[in-house]
């Protein structure tokens, strides 16, 4: 044996580490970007960062391959051939911006609504919304309508906060964690970290999900529910808990509207709260049987009160859910879960909430002025995402889940589900929608908001929708995030009207982000005479996505390591339950191409258009670029995009004058800033005086906003009353019945809409934890992990049709047909098939070889999913309350077709637009300090 070779134990790691924020998905983890010779050499997680605490996912560590991807666009492009031909010429930024201005200026001066500006997965909605408001078009939203607005809206309307990243289980104290239909790409690292903590403590994790992968695979118990029946299951759990008296009466009486009296008298007030002379709902005090103010210091609400013949919310709720049609035996077959298993889950929930209850020794004062020596711990927590919400009954299902955790007394209780600042935030603290377009003027307020009644709907004088996506119309009254998935179909149908310019950012609407992709591609190229039906399309993207080919003007964006960004308390911050937090991105490397950060481009466009707030009194640009805006824009006096290091000396947090050195301070601090809550404010936030005062000090709101949770939703009942014929604003007759059902004031379950006869199998998608939307496939490392997808078939279907490895199946829906590779999966609901989302690519896109597996065998389910329901009126295939795209309502038929080598449908190969191109070509070798090629 020769001597052991000597190993260099301490090689230099890098020349420099620059700390910024990841953007390989929407998590916003902190990253250390290592540089050698000025190039990115390695990326790992920032240990100090509140989101990821040093860990990083598969995507995050692969970010180095995103900055070298050959798919990166390199200069502004102008279309010179037909749409979809890929014939572009590179132009200068000046030409590009002036072209855009020449299109947009006349629209603003004559008909601002003819611009539709919709953004995808960007994280700058407080800027893009403000820009659209200044432009004056009502037609603005981001992608929430096709993502998870049911989650957001049901949470806000019920408890002033949602799942998603807006809260999290009390990982340190919970004793049972139940996941419903989670999308594992969302709030991904925090949930993984949390599950790891629970596993280390031996805490049980339960999954309710048709598919047993990922988090469901490690869950201690799995309920393989039939898609679309989660609400039915949850209401049955509520039935069991009520039946056994296992609900937190004290919590319900103090912190919810369970004690409010509901008007039971037939007429236009039926189902609304009984009000006092000050138009306030009130409760009956159990000590004297007399009306008392709901927020009175000494009030003890009587949940069993009957006053003047009117009963409480609590009684109406109990009456509803104690009915035998909510019993486990009545729902078991539809849910695909035996009744005994449902009863077992209810017993586990009750055991965690009540048998494992504890008192957290933290004194606090509630908003009524009462001092408490302890906080009641209820150690059971939940999380849910798109799995339950991407159904046409998803809003009410999410509401049902919130009702469940409220009945257990666990929301904001120690051990339960904890909201993150700026949440909790009641409906009343949100704006209502603004939508009236006036030539040459801005909108009078933000586009998106929370309607309280039909009076807030965005309707024109004739009752037709004011917005191109029909958000806030009778089609989707509470569509707080808009309906991006309907913009192109509606614009082409001229329903409610035609537009001139479609302006999109970071949304792959010509591929995986649209329902009915094949038809949307036709819509984008549809002509009337010689002119396109959508006359102009401006698109900003960093990469050669499928959508680039269909735009007329391309504004190439940078990658996330080359840009400024602002993860702001004004939209989606990086808070924790114990701290508000925000963060930045900054150019840790400079772009090597003629590209610009979209937000800077948007501010430039705004200045050229003279939009208010973007020019000074002399009409000169007010902001040099997005970085300048981040430091110096003020939304309200003293409140800007970033909360940290405000004031002239940088010592103020939250409120304070702009500080020109603010971004440097963020960079020095690792790219983020936190404002910690006092320990007294950490739980019971909606009712906790210490929290409310802290939130006002920080600038989250200007006065304390305590509120009660809405078990009974008066807003929903107002729409139901309208559907029943009451009130001056009436829905069209064809929508009355579905509004009457969907707008129930108590959480309700109804079968998913649009299910057709002869299609017996549910078809789902989910996103892998190692791939985000369509971005991942251009990444040389990630595509080696998951370069193609199969349709997973349950054992029953696999065996019944004699499927074998290598087979394909024809999958048919009323909308279309695909022929795709299949694989067998036993850990799957027997009535369900599923595949990974957005792996399938169109040939020629993303700088991949046209024979890439993503394009040859990879596929989308989107071709099977119609954006409208069958029948007249073009009713969106969405939740009737919020307009959330009902992706997961899809049902199909499966037929074995035997071995194939090519998925169908196939589309013509997309031409390759001008792009950076280099990447790490074939057989690339890179070694820093060893003369490797770049």
């Amino acid at each position: 044996m020769t001597a052991e070779p000597r190993i260099e134990r301490s090689p230099p790691v890098s020349d420099e580490v620059r700390k910024t924020t990841c953007y390989m998905c929407a998590c916003r983890c902190g990253i250390n970007v290592h540089l050698k010779d000025g190039r990115v050499s390695y990326i790992d997680g920032n240990r100090d960062h509140p989101i990821n605490k040093g860990v990083l996912c598969a995507k995050g560590a692969s970010g180095i391959m995103q900055v070298t991807a050959p798919s990166r666009l390199r200069a502004p492009l102008r279309r010179v051939g037909p749409r979809g031909s890929g014939a572009f010429e590179e132009i200068t930024w000046e030409e590009a911006l002036e072209t855009a201005v020449s299109w947009l200026r006349p629209l603003r001066e004559t008909a601002p609504e003819r611009l539709a500006f919709f953004t995808g997965r960007d994280q700058s909605q407080s800027l893009t919304g403000w820009w659209a408001q200044a432009f004056g078009t009502p037609n603005y939203a981001a992608h929430g309508g096709f993502c998870s607005v049911n989650m957001a809206a049901a949470g806000i309307y019920t408890m002033g906060g949602a799942f998603w990243e807006f809260g999290q289980p009390d990982w340190a104290r919970t004793e049972l964690f139940v996941l419903f239909g989670v999308a594992e790409d969302h709030d991904s690292n925090p949930i993984k970290i949390g599950i790891g903590k629970l596993k280390a403590r031996g805490v049980r994790v339960i999954s309710v999900n048709p598919v047993r992968t990922g988090y469901s695979a490690v869950a201690d118990d799995w309920y393989g529910i039939t898609p679309g029946t989660d609400g039915l299951l949850i209401l049955s759990l509520i039935h069991c808990l009520l039946e056994a008296g296992k609900v937190d009466l004290d919590y319900l009486a103090r912190w919810t509207n369970a004690g409010f009296l509901v008007n039971g008298t037939e007429g236009p007030e039926k189902g609304l709260f009984v009000k006092n002379a000050e138009s306030q709902p009130f409760v009956i005090d159990r000590r004297n049987g007399q009306p008392a103010p709901w927020d009175g210091r000494d009030t003890e609400p009587d949940l069993g009160a009957v006053w003047d013949g009117q009963r409480t919310v609590f009684q109406l709720m109990a009456e509803e859910y104690l009915r035998p049609d909510h019993a486990p035996e009545a729902v078991a077959e539809r849910c695909g879960i035996p009744a005994a298993r449902i009863r077992g889950l209810a017993a586990e929930l009750a055991q965690a909430a009540f048998d494992k209850a504890f008192l957290h020794p933290q004194p606090w004062t509630d908003f009524r002025g009462n001092r408490h020596e302890t906080m009641q711990g209820r150690p059971v927590s939940f999380h849910a995402m798109r799995g339950i919400s991407a159904h046409s009954n998803g809003f009410q299902t999410a509401r049902a889940l919130h009702l469940l955790q409220i009945l257990l007394g666990s929301v904001e209780a120690p051990g339960g589900y904890r909201l993150k600042p700026p949440y909790p935030k009641p409906v009343e603290a949100h704006p209502t929608p603004h939508f009236v377009a006036t030539p040459g003027k801005p909108l009078t307020g933000p586009h998106l908001g929370y309607v309280r009644s039909p009076a807030d709907l965005a309707l024109r004088q004739d009752g037709s929708p004011a917005r191109i996506d029909k958000a806030f119309s009778w089609d989707a009254p509470l569509s707080a995030h808009g309906l991006m998935h309907m913009v192109i179909p509606n614009a082409v149908a001229g329903d409610p009207y035609r537009i001139d310019t479609l302006f999109l950012y970071m949304a792959n609407m010509a591929w995986n982000s649209s329902m009915n992709t094949a038809q949307v591609i036709e819509m984008l190229t549809a002509k009337e005479g010689d002119a396109y039906v959508i006359p102009r399309i401006i698109y900003s993207d960093a990469y050669a996505s499928e959508t680039v080919a269909y735009a007329d003007l391309i504004l190439p964006d940078t990658t996330y390591l080359e840009r400024h960004d602002c993860i702001s308390l004004l939209d989606r911050p990086i808070s924790e339950p114990d701290a508000a937090g925000d963060s930045i991105r900054w150019p840790v490397v400079e772009p090597d191409r003629d590209v610009r950060g979209f937000q800077s481009v948007l501010l430039d466009l705004g200045a050229r258009l003279g939009l208010p707030g973007m020019v000074d009194d002399a009409g000169r640009p007010k902001f040099r670029d997005y970085a300048d805006y981040m430091a110096n824009h003020q939304r309200r006096p003293g409140v800007g995009p970033l909360m940290g290091f405000r004031g002239a000396d940088g010592s103020a947090t939250g409120r304070g004058a702009p500080n020109p050195d603010q971004l440097d301070r963020y960079i020095a601090a690792g790219g983020f800033h936190q404002a910690h809550l006092p320990s007294e404010a950490a739980y019971m936030k909606p009712w906790n005086a210490a929290y409310q005062d802290w939130a006002v000090d920080l600038g989250l709101y200007d006065t304390p906003q305590p509120y009660l949770f809405n078990i009974w939703s008066e807003t929903l009942r107002r729409f139901q009353l309208a559907a029943e014929g009451h009130g001056p604003r009436q829905p069209p007759d064809h929508l009355r019945e579905r509004l009457r059902v969907a707008m129930a004031p108590l959480p309700v379950w109804y079968p998913p809409m649009g299910e057709a006869e002869g299609y017996p199998v549910h078809a789902l998608t989910q996103r892998p934890m190692d791939m985000y939307h369509s971005w991942g496939s251009q990444n040389a490392w990630l595509r080696q992990i998951r370069g193609k997808n199969a349709l997973y078939l349950p054992t029953a279907i696999w065996e019944a049709q004699g499927f074998a490895e290598g087979d394909y199946a024809r999958v048919t829906s009323p909308t279309g047909e695909i022929v795709v590779p299949v694989a067998h999966m036993a850990a799957l609901n027997p009535h369900t098939v599923w595949t990974w989302n957005a792996i399938g690519k169109r040939r020629g896109a993303w700088a991949l070889d046209p024979e890439a597996p993503e394009a040859v065998e990879g596929f989308l389910l989107n071709h099977l999913i119609s954006e409208v329901l069958p029948g007249a009126h073009r009713i969106s295939n969405s939740d009737p309350v919020t307009g959330q795209a009902a992706w997961f309502d899809q049902k199909v038929r499966i037929e074995r077709v035997g071995p194939r080598a090519l998925a169908e449908p196939q589309f013509p190969v997309l031409p390759d637009p001008p792009r950076a191109g280099a990447g790490r070509g074939a057989n690339f070798r890179r070694k820093f300090g060893r003369g490797g090629a770049a």
């Binding site: 052991e4 070779p5 240990r47 993984k192 280390a200 047993r212 490690v218 104690l322 070889d849």
Partner: protein, 244 residues
């Protein structure tokens, strides 16, 4: 042929918790990222944007479906990398001495300057833990991040293999398995950690913690307060609110 050390002073290795691994692939790309610029030649990719991309990964995660004797089918995510065997057949088979096991800590490495790319070690390894770099023609394998774990240029808390540092669920643990008092040895003892394929007599150092038993908790069923259908809501309310 190459000799193994008689003993090693320590047995550094990984303990991987199969009850906790969600299969997120974070360890796969963290490993790729570090080792692409770390010990030895970079981990090349062939045809990275083409029809048949393939590159070197020192750590891969596979998902397996299993049907237990009772209950629903399960999915187990299984990370796979070099196990740093005590009786490493990849070392003894090496004709040039390039493959070796360090006496100091038991890490199995390839000295790339001596590697002729014959591939015998990959054939000898029963775990499929080695991958040939097609560009450089040398064998690549997990180094246990030997250039991190002793690296004075890293903060002490970062002197971990990249896969361990990045694992979001904390399913990967690193330490000295020769020390019965080490955190990893205690985990193995508590959770009945096991070696892969002991019948191969390679004596792997790495351990896997098995998935915990799954299924219902066996909590006693809830007892109804009253027979609501018999008493009506009023009877239920009396009992319910009488609890306050």
């Amino acid at each position: 042929m190459t000799a193994l050390p008689e003993t090693t002073a320590r047995k550094l290795g990984l303990v991987i918790d199969l009850d906790t691994c969600v299969g997120c692939q974070a360890c796969v790309t963290a490993c790729k990222g570090w080792n692409d610029q770390g010990y030895g030649v970079p981990l090349s990719d062939q045809d990275p944007y083409g029809a048949d991309p393939s590159g070197v990964f020192l750590n891969r995660v596979h998902a397996y479906q299993m049907q237990p004797p009772e209950g629903a089918s399960v999915v187990v995510n299984f990370p796979r990398s070099c196990l740093h065997c005590e009786v490493a057949p990849c070392v003894t088979v090496c004709p040039t001495g390039a493959s070796f096991k360090r006496a100091e800590d038991g890490i199995v490495l390839v000295n790339e300057d001596a590697c002729i790319g014959c591939g015998l070690c990959a054939w000898a390894c029963p775990y499929g833990a080695r991958e040939m770099d097609a560009a450089a023609g040398v064998m690549k394998k997990c180094t246990l991040c030997v250039d991190r774990i002793y690296n004075d240029n890293l903060a002490p808390e970062d002197r971990l293999p990249a896969c361990v540092r990045t694992c979001p669920t904390g399913a990967r643990h690193f330490g000295d398995l020769s020390d019965p008092g080490s955190a990893v040895s205690r985990l193995v003892a508590e959770r009945e950690g096991y070696a892969l394929m002991p019948e191969m007599e390679t004596k792997p150092v790495n351990r896997y913690l098995p998935p915990r038993r799954k299924g219902a908790a066996g909590v006693a069923p809830l007892v109804p307060l009253v027979d609501v259908q018999a008493t009506g809501l009023a009877g239920w309310l009396d009992r319910m609110l009488g609890k306050i």
